[in-house]
Symmetry: D2
Amino acid sequence: MRISFANDYSEGCLPEILENLSKTNFEQISGYGLDSYSKSAISKIEELLGAEPDQVDIHFTVGGTQANLIVISHVLKPYSGVLSAPQGHIATHESAAIEATGHKVIMLDADPYSGKIDAQTLAAFLNEYWANPEPEHSPFPGMIYFSNATEYGTLYSAEEISAIRDVADKYDISIFMDGARLGTALTAEPGVLSFGQLLDLVDVFTIGGTKNGALSGEAIVFTNRKYNYGNRFRWTLKQRGGMLAKGRLLGIQFDTLFTDDLYFRAAKHANRMADLLRTGLKQRNVKFWTETKTNQLFILIAPEMKQMLLQDFIFLDWLIPTEQQLSELGLEKSDQEYHVIRLVTSWATQKEWIEQFLNRWDDFANL
Amino acid sequence: MRISFANDYSEGCLPEILENLSKTNFEQISGYGLDSYSKSAISKIEELLGAEPDQVDIHFTVGGTQANLIVISHVLKPYSGVLSAPQGHIATHESAAIEATGHKVIMLDADPYSGKIDAQTLAAFLNEYWANPEPEHSPFPGMIYFSNATEYGTLYSAEEISAIRDVADKYDISIFMDGARLGTALTAEPGVLSFGQLLDLVDVFTIGGTKNGALSGEAIVFTNRKYNYGNRFRWTLKQRGGMLAKGRLLGIQFDTLFTDDLYFRAAKHANRMADLLRTGLKQRNVKFWTETKTNQLFILIAPEMKQMLLQDFIFLDWLIPTEQQLSELGLEKSDQEYHVIRLVTSWATQKEWIEQFLNRWDDFANL
Amino acid sequence: MRISFANDYSEGCLPEILENLSKTNFEQISGYGLDSYSKSAISKIEELLGAEPDQVDIHFTVGGTQANLIVISHVLKPYSGVLSAPQGHIATHESAAIEATGHKVIMLDADPYSGKIDAQTLAAFLNEYWANPEPEHSPFPGMIYFSNATEYGTLYSAEEISAIRDVADKYDISIFMDGARLGTALTAEPGVLSFGQLLDLVDVFTIGGTKNGALSGEAIVFTNRKYNYGNRFRWTLKQRGGMLAKGRLLGIQFDTLFTDDLYFRAAKHANRMADLLRTGLKQRNVKFWTETKTNQLFILIAPEMKQMLLQDFIFLDWLIPTEQQLSELGLEKSDQEYHVIRLVTSWATQKEWIEQFLNRWDDFANL
Amino acid sequence: MRISFANDYSEGCLPEILENLSKTNFEQISGYGLDSYSKSAISKIEELLGAEPDQVDIHFTVGGTQANLIVISHVLKPYSGVLSAPQGHIATHESAAIEATGHKVIMLDADPYSGKIDAQTLAAFLNEYWANPEPEHSPFPGMIYFSNATEYGTLYSAEEISAIRDVADKYDISIFMDGARLGTALTAEPGVLSFGQLLDLVDVFTIGGTKNGALSGEAIVFTNRKYNYGNRFRWTLKQRGGMLAKGRLLGIQFDTLFTDDLYFRAAKHANRMADLLRTGLKQRNVKFWTETKTNQLFILIAPEMKQMLLQDFIFLDWLIPTEQQLSELGLEKSDQEYHVIRLVTSWATQKEWIEQFLNRWDDFANL
C-alpha cells in the first residue's frame, strides 16, 4: 500500500467527529441547519471571532466548490464578475461552476510562483477599467476572490489583505476569501493573520472543513463589514442545493471542530508534518517552486527520482517548468530535467511517513 | 421531549453506516467518487437492477434538491422546461432551484388529493402544445418529473409509469422519477413496481438516502434507456457543486445500504410503522386526505385534538380543506372544523411511539 | 387580400419614423445609445413625465420579451422570483425567458376574465408567505409584474396601482409595469391614469413602441422611486444583448414618437378604431369576454360565423369557454356553441376596415 | 464636423434598405420572422451558399452580441464552454454575455498581432485536456469560436479553417464563426475563402448586417454539417429575446442585402477604401501592427501626430505597445513613443475622406 501525500482529504475524519455523530445519532432534531448543534457551532465561531451579537451571518454547506458558487452568486450583482488569480481554484479546478451561475471569473495577474495577487495590481486593473469612458462593454469587476492559504500553499498577511481591502473599498467591490485551507493558513506563522482580524478585512470567507479533518463541510462567514451581504442567504443556500435536510451532519462536525480548539490543533499537526518534510528536503538541497509555510510543498524533482518515489508514495504532478522559469529559480540550464510535484500533509499524516519518504529519497539519491 | 412524526430525517443514520465510516476511517483512498466503496456501491445497485455492464450510469450526490437540479439541468435542452404536478417537490419546496438553472417548471394538472399525474393528462397537454402552429412562444416541454412515493405518500404502479412512458416516447420527452422516498415506494405493496422495472420505464431516477436512513445522499441512476443521458454527467455534477472531495462519505453509505438489503429493510420498517398507525387511526374512524400505503399519512383532524396532541408529539400542518373538499371527502358540512396534518414514520420509528400516539388520541377523544 | 385584426404589429411603422431615419441616414453619430437622438428622446420623455434632472434612468431596447427579461434579471436579487397573473405575458408567451435568466415566475391569482391582479390578493399571498417560519424553501417573491393595458385589453387605474404599491412597499418588493401597450392604456379613458403618475406608482415600466407604431423598440423607465434600480443598467443591457451598436435606430424612433405627441396620437387612433368596432358589435348584441376600453376586443362568436369571417379577415382564436364560464357570462346553456376570438386595432387600422367587418357580420348573420 | 473612421456602424444604412422599408410599410404581414420577406431572404442566402433544400437553418436576429449569446447557449451542452482567442469579441467586448448564459469562455492562445488561433494550438489544448485522467474538474471545451474577419481585421483561409475543422471533429467540438464582418472577409482576397465553402467548414456562422450597411441585424446560419444544431432554434431565439414581433425589419433588410449582390458590393467598397488608406499610409512609411486586407487598419502612430489628427478625424486608441512588441515590429528602441490606433472604413466611407486624412497626415508630418 503506497502512502499518499496527494492531498489533505484522503482519509475520513477526525475521530472526535465520528464519536459525536454516534453519540447524538438517535436524537430527533430540526432539519435544514436549524438544529441545536449548528447553533452551538455558530456561537463558538462567533465567540472565537470576537463578533458582536447579530454582527455576522454564519452558514454551513457541504463542499468547497458548492460554497464558492453559492457565495459568489449570492453576493454579485447580476451583471458583474469576480476577479481572481489565474491560479485561483474558481478559475481552474471547479469546472466553470461560477460561470454556470452566470458570472465571469475575470483574470487578474498574479505571481506565477506564489499564486498571490496584490493590492497594486488590483488597483491598476480597477483604475484602468473605470478610466474607460464606456466600461459597460467589458465584464464588470464586482468582487475580488483569493484563497488563503493559496492553491500554492502560500499565505496572505493581515497587511496584504488590508491593502487589498483599501483598494476594494475605493472601487466598491466585495472581498471573498476562500478558506478551504484556512486552518493551516492561520496556524503557520504567529502574527501574520489572526482569525478575528478577518472581521474587518474581508466581506465573506469560508472555514474549510473537508481539508482539515471533517468528513465534509465548509462554514461560510459573512462579516457584514460594509454591506449586509449575508442577508437572505438561506434562500440562495437552499436554491443552489447547499442546504442539507440533515443539517446536523454539518452542525455536529463544526461544533466538534470548534470545541477545545480541535480545528486549529488539526491544522497545526498538518503544518508540523509539512515542516518536517520541508526541512528534510532542504537538507537534501531540493529546490522549491515557491516558499511555503503551510501543508503544501511544491518541489522540483528529476523525473527519474519521481518515478522511483511513485513506487511507494502517491503525490501529484503539478507542472513542467519552462527554461525561463528554471533560470529564474536559479537552476542553471543543464542536461538535468525537472518536474514540479506537490506534496501535501494533513491532520492524519504520520511522522513515520515523512521519515520513510526521506529515507527512500536517500536510497534513490545514492543509486 | 416530544416524539416526532414530523418527517423521516429527524434522526442521524442507520448504525451500520456509522460503523462502516469508523471501520474505514483511516484508509487513504481516492477522492471525488472514484474510490472503491463508491464503485462497490455502484456494482451492487447495478446487480440489483439487473443491468448489463456499462448499461447504466450511477452517481452519488449529497441532497435531494441538489440531485434534482443537477439531473434536470443536465438532461434538458437549453430552451426546454420540465413538467410537474403542482404538488411536485421541484414546484413547491425547492426555492426555485430548477429555475435558477435556467429552466421552467411547467405545471401539469394532477389529482389534488393524491398529487399524482397521469398519462392521459400528459398526452392532452403535449398534444395541445404541438397542435399550436407556433409553439415556440410557449415554454417547451422537455421532461416529465414525478416523485415516487409522491409528496402525498401515494404510489405509481408499473402500469401507470408505463403509460406515461409511452406518451413521453411519442413526444420525445425524458422521464425523471424523483426517488427521495423510493425505498418506501418499492416495498409498500408487492407487485406494484419492482426496482428492475425502472430500467425500462424511466430515463433517470434517484434512490433517496437521506429519507431512508443515510446521513445524507442520493444515488442518481441514468438508465440510458433511449438516449445516453448519463454521458458527461461528472462534469455537471462537479460544476453544480454536487461532487464531494471525500466521495467516500457517499460511497460508504450506499455500499452499506445496498449490502444485505439494508436499504429495503429500513424502508419496510418505516412502512410497517405507518401501517400500525394507519390501522389504529382507521379503527378510530379518522378520515384520510388520501389513501397511502407508504410512510406518510395525511389525516383530517379537529383543531382542538391537534393542539392537544402537539403537547406530546411533533407533526406538520399540511393544509386547511375547503368546504368543497370536505364534501368530496364525505364529511358533511357541519360545525366541526378540520385541518389536514401529516404524520411520517421512518427507519427509526419505534413501535411504542405509535402506541403512545394512539393512546393519547384516545385520552383526548374521551375528554 | 384579407384584412388583419390579428395584432397591432402587422404593419411597418408610422411614416414619420421612416422619414426621420432617411433624413438622418448619413450623419455619423455615436453608437450604443449614446447618440444625440437617443438623448433627445430621453429628454422628451423625462419632460413629459415631469421628472427632475437625474431622477429617472431611461434606456431603449429592441423588443418586449427582451425588455422584460433584461429588466427583471437586473432588478431581482439572485434568489428571488417575480409574481405575475397566470395570464401575464411573461408567464405564457415568452417561452420561459424569465426562467432562462434564473428566476421563477410565481403565479398570483388573477381575475380570469380581465387578467388583472389586485392589491388584496397580493397582500394575502405575501402575508401567508412571510407567516411561514421557514419561508426559504419556497420561491422568494421579489417583484410584482403586471401589464397595462393587460393581455386582455383591460386597464389599471391610478388607485388600483396605488393600492398595489402600498402592499409592495410594505413587503419591500419592486413593481414592474409592462407597458407594451401603454399608449392605448393611457389614452383610453381620461382621468384613469396619467403618464406622470407612474413616477410615484411603479419602480420600472416600459413604453412599448412595437405595438404603437414603431418598427421595433421599447423604452425602459426606472423611476428610482424607492431604490436606485436603474443603477448600472447599461451593463445588463449590454450583457443580455439588448444594446444596439446602431442605437440611433431606437433613438430616432423614440425621438419621433415623443415629438408632437405622435406616440399618444397613434394610440388614440387605435382606441378610436376599437371603439367603432366595439359599438358596432354591441349594436349586434355580441357578447364580450371582458369589457375593454383599449384596442383589444375579446368576443364570443359562433364557430360558423367565425369561419365565414375568416374568409375576409384575420384574427386570433383565443379560447373556448367552459360551460361554467358561459353561464357566468349570462349565456344560457343552449345548443349554441361559442368561441372567444381576439380583434385588435392599431395606429394603422382604417375606418373602412371596421365598416367592412361589420357589414360582413351582417351578411352572415342574415344567412 | 470631424470625419469618423471610428467604426463601420456610424451611419444609418444602405439607401436601398430604407427604400424597401418604405415601399412595404403598409403591407400587413406575419410576425416573428415568418413573413414573406424573411423567407425570401433565407432562400437567397441558401441559393448563394449552394445549399440543398432543408439542409441549413437560417434565422435573423438584431445584434451581434445577441447572436453570439443565443447561438452559443443553444449549441453548447449545459456543462461545456467555448474556446476563444483572448482577443475574441466574446472574450473582451460583450460584457460577459456568454457567461451570463452559464458558459465559460475558455482562453486559447492566439497570435498577439493578428488575433488568430490555429489548428495546432487547438489540437495541443484538446490533447492535453483529454490526456488528464480526471478532466471533469476543468472547464469542458465544447466549441471553438473565432471571428472572420477577426477583431484585428485579419482573415482565415479555407485551408486554415479546414485544419481547425479536422481538429474539432477529432475531439467532437462544434465550430462557430462570428461573421460580424463576414462581408469584408469574403471579398478581401479572391480564392482565400468562398461563401459556399462555409457549408462544409463550420457548424454555425453569422452574416453580419450591422457592420455592413444594415440598420441592424445578423443572419445566423446553421450548416447542420455534422449534427442538427439548428434544431428547435426558434425556441432559444424567442427565449433570449432575439425574435422580433416585426420580423419584417430583419427580413426586408436581408432580402435587400442579398438582392443584386448588395451585401458584397457594400463590403467591397469598404475594402477598397481601406486599400486606398493602407496604400497611402505605406507610402508614408507608417508601420502596421498587423497586416490586414479588410476594412480595419491598425497602425503605429506618434502620440503628437495622433492628437493633431484627432482635431479633424475620429478613430479609436487601441493599445500602447510594450518595448518588446516594438522591437518585434522592427521599431528600434528610441526616444520615439508609439500608440496603436484603429482606422475603420465602411460601405459609407467616401474617397475624399481618405484623401483628406492623408493630406492632414502630410501637413502634420511636415511641421
